[in-house]
């Protein structure tokens, strides 16, 4: 099993690791010749939210050399905060960086090697950061796949995230760490956030948001159910119909924090089932091919209720 590559975009990798470390401590990193995938499970007990980040190999690595006995796929368990820390300190000033899988003192490690120019003499200094990892067997990850969701009732682009974040933080304060927040959206560009705490009932509403067509961007997947799949123009009544999900307040706050890294954030609301948030780390104007794999983070939050068990089995 070998992996070695130069990194040309340390900032992106650092950003992804940093965002994901908000959700969980340990991530599953899958390295393949074409892409890099990081998946995190929420650490809180009563939630099942997951984050899947897929980045095309070429947007981070230059000339990756990867080989393993299993289709050149390497699966690792990585401590995210350590990964983030190792990259963050160097992200601002590096001249070249590379990463390789090594073994030191019996512990497999991802070694990030960064050369940077020193301020005083313009000489090169070499920084090596060794991140402990655990190699996962293909069998142990075989059952892990992106959860499938029914066709979402509504897809809506989230309002400016700094605004959303401020409001969300207030909601969390009011409802407590494990409270429930209701998120509703319709196809007429309306997003609502509601909470019903003991002492207070609050509702926020955004209007005029963009409703992207479901599946317009690559990398978004859903389960084709038995429901009708006609892509006809929705009539006014259907447009006004709200899809509703209920989310854990802390999870929602995390999602909003993670999303802040993205330039474009699209939420799918699958009525009474789940909330899927797609975070695109680049601008919309970029060509589709790039967007397809370029740092799409998929965040999933479950609806709390009957369908939770159903969701489990799909994992």
């Amino acid at each position: 099993m070998k992996f070695r590559s130069d990194i040309h975009n340390i900032t992106l990798l650092s950003k992804v690791a940093g965002s994901l470390s908000v959700v969980g401590k340990i991530g599953w990193l899958q390295l393949t010749p074409s892409h890099l995938q990081l998946r995190v499970l929420s650490t809180s007990d009563n939630s099942q939210s997951q984050v899947w980040a897929t980045i095309s190999s070429s947007s981070i690595f230059t000339d990756p050399k990867i080989s393993s006995a299993h289709d050149n796929i390497i699966n690792l368990e990585v401590p995210l905060d350590t990964l983030h820390r190792s990259l963050k300190s160097a992200a601002s000033s590096y001249t070249s960086a590379s990463i390789k899988l090594t073994k030191k003192e019996g512990i497999p490690r991802l070694s990030v090697i960064i050369t940077t120019e020193t301020a005083a003499s313009m000489n090169h200094a070499k920084i090596v950061q060794d991140i402990p990892v655990r190699v996962l067997s293909p069998q142990s990850v075989a059952h892990l796949c992106k959860p499938l969701v029914p066709r979402p009732g509504c897809a809506v682009m989230l309002p400016p995230l700094n605004q959303l974040r401020g409001i969300t933080d207030r909601y969390v304060k009011m409802v407590g760490a494990n409270g429930r927040i209701v998120v509703e959206g319709n196809n007429n560009g309306v997003l609502k956030m509601k909470l019903d705490a003991e002492a207070v009932k609050v509702e926020s509403e955004w209007r005029g948001l963009i409703n992207p067509v479901v599946g317009e961007d690559g990398g978004m997947e859903w389960e084709d159910g038995e429901e009708d799949e006609e892509d006809e123009e929705l009539n006014t009544q259907e447009k006004e119909r709200f899809s509703k999900v209920m989310v854990d307040s802390r999870d929602w706050a995390k999602v909003v924090r993670v999303s802040a890294a993205g330039k474009r954030v699209i939420a799918w609301l699958c009525n009474n089932h789940s909330l899927v948030v797609y975070v695109f780390l680049d601008e919309e104007g970029d060509n589709q091919a790039t967007i397809k794999f370029h740092g799409g983070l998929i965040l999933r939050l479950n609806y709390y209720g009957d369908s939770v068990s159903g969701f489990e089995t799909r994992r």
Partner: protein, 433 residues
């Protein structure tokens, strides 16, 4: 004195370069003068440090801070040992240190060849398979010697210090723009001294060092631990007012941390930090009389011969408490270790040669070390007397090494030896009867 109590008095009152001119001038310029008085009441135990800030409009702010007279531990440092030396701009070093994560414990500084120097952090904690991902981030930085303003280190010298201490020193130094940090040290196991000087503030840190184990970071490093202490300033040996100011000034005894990792041997770090601001030089007070506090005394009284019985475990070692440590009680089985090398630390200071001492150290360090305060049956000159003798009889520097050696020896001895407990035998005998 509690540093936390002293800090708020001066916090925010010093602005290096006024950013918000109006506000900063208000803050700093609002004070016309500052008066610091020591109110010493040895018998009543109510010593106070009184800080008076005379502000504009006749406002006077008075802070009364309680303090206690204590024997200041100061790690001894022999300049003659320190053959290795380097200096670097603090800002630069601080920038490099930022790459180091918070979780590793040790920092190895190695001059590999004549061109580059290596800073590597590592841990000695042995992490089992289940927690492998909790292994701290191991960082290594390779720098060109050109970065250093001065670099005179014997090739293949590798020395390890505590990351945390080193980092906090560098961070502190790095807050001043053009300060140059100088580090001097000898062999691994001998202390390293880091100094820097800024506007009359002279900072001096003495760090304990160790060798990096041959088995690599995961293995057990060869432990070289020392507790060395002697008074930082012997009257007459200092250089006039500077020394005195240092003595009185806000000397934050930074840390005397007995190592906690249970697998490793005792790793106390003795870091002494003397800060003296030039402003405080105006206080002309005689240095506090050398008084032997319970702490000082505790290190001392160690029975010197095998014959002297010793009640182990009956008294809480004030040696341990004195260094603010949380040493675990020694395992009962080790109470019965026979002490053969005892006369190395005989009453004559000359007996405790450095080499013997070193050798002894290496032998001893394989176990957790705990000091017992056992003053029973000590025919040896007690430490208290020694100190007094050292202070009163001869104030010259010549005494210092001797005294220090003794103290080292004793500290180490009291820290590492538990002698055979005849008392216990007697007790057992009683039951037999």
């Amino acid at each position: 004195m509690n540093v936390k109590a002293l800090l708020p008095v001066f916090r925010g009152r010093y602005v290096q370069e006024p950013i918000n001119k109006e506000r900063d001038e208000n803050m700093v310029g609002g004070i016309d003068k500052c008066e610091i008085v020591l109110q010493e009441k040895p018998n009543k135990g109510q010593c106070r440090l009184v800080v008076k800030l005379f502000c504009r409009q006749g406002i006077m702010k008075t802070f009364r801070l309680q303090y206690e007279e204590a024997d200041i531990i100061h790690a001894s440092f022999l300049k003659e040992w320190a053959v290795n030396k380097w200096a670097i701009r603090a800002g630069e070093l601080k920038k490099w240190m930022e790459h180091f994560g918070p979780k590793t414990e040790h920092l190895e500084i190695a001059a590999d060849d004549e061109e580059r120097v290596n800073f590597t952090s590592y841990t000695l904690k042995i992490i089992d398979g289940a927690h492998i991902l909790k292994t701290p981030l191991q960082t290594s930085i390779e720098l060109d010697l050109i970065e250093f303003n001065e670099f005179q280190v014997a090739t293949d010298t590798s020395i390890a210090v505590s990351v945390k201490d080193f980092k906090s020193i560098v961070t502190h130094a790095g807050t001043f723009e053009h300060v140059q940090i100088q580090a001097v040290y000898g062999e691994p196991g001998q202390p390293m001294q880091i100094t820097y000087d800024q506007n009359g503030m002279f900072c001096e840190f003495t760090l304990m060092t160790r060798k990096k184990g041959a088995a690599g970071p995961a293995g057990k490093a060869e432990p070289v631990a020392k507790i060395m202490s002697h008074r930082s300033v012997i009257p007459g040996s200092g250089t006039g007012s500077v020394a005195r100011t240092r003595e009185q000034s806000i000397a934050s005894r930074k840390s005397v941390t007995p190592a906690v990792p249970p697998t490793a041997s005792l790793q106390p770090v003795v870091a002494a930090r003397d800060t003296s601001r030039s402003e405080s030089a105006q206080i002309e007070m005689p240095p506090p009389p050398l008084r032997v506090t319970p702490f000082g005394g505790s290190v001392s009284a160690v029975p010197n011969s095998k014959d002297s019985p010793l009640i182990s475990g009956t008294r809480q070692s004030s040696f341990a408490t004195g260094i603010r440590g949380s040493l675990q009680p020694r395992q009962s089985q080790s109470l019965f270790i026979m002490d053969d090398d005892d006369d190395v630390f005989g009453p004559s200071p000359a007996g405790a040669g450095d080499e013997q001492f070193e050798a002894l150290l290496d032998d001893l360090d394989d176990e957790d070390v705990l000091g017992w305060d056992a003053s029973l049956g000590s025919e040896r000159v007690s430490f208290v007397e020694l100190q007094e003798r050292a202070v009163n009889a001869d104030k010259g520097k010549a005494v210092v090494p001797k005294e220090k050696e003794q103290r080292e020896g004793r500290a180490e001895e009291s820290g590492s030896y538990v002698e055979a407990t005849q008392r216990k035998n007697v007790v057992r005998g009683l039951f037999d009867d």
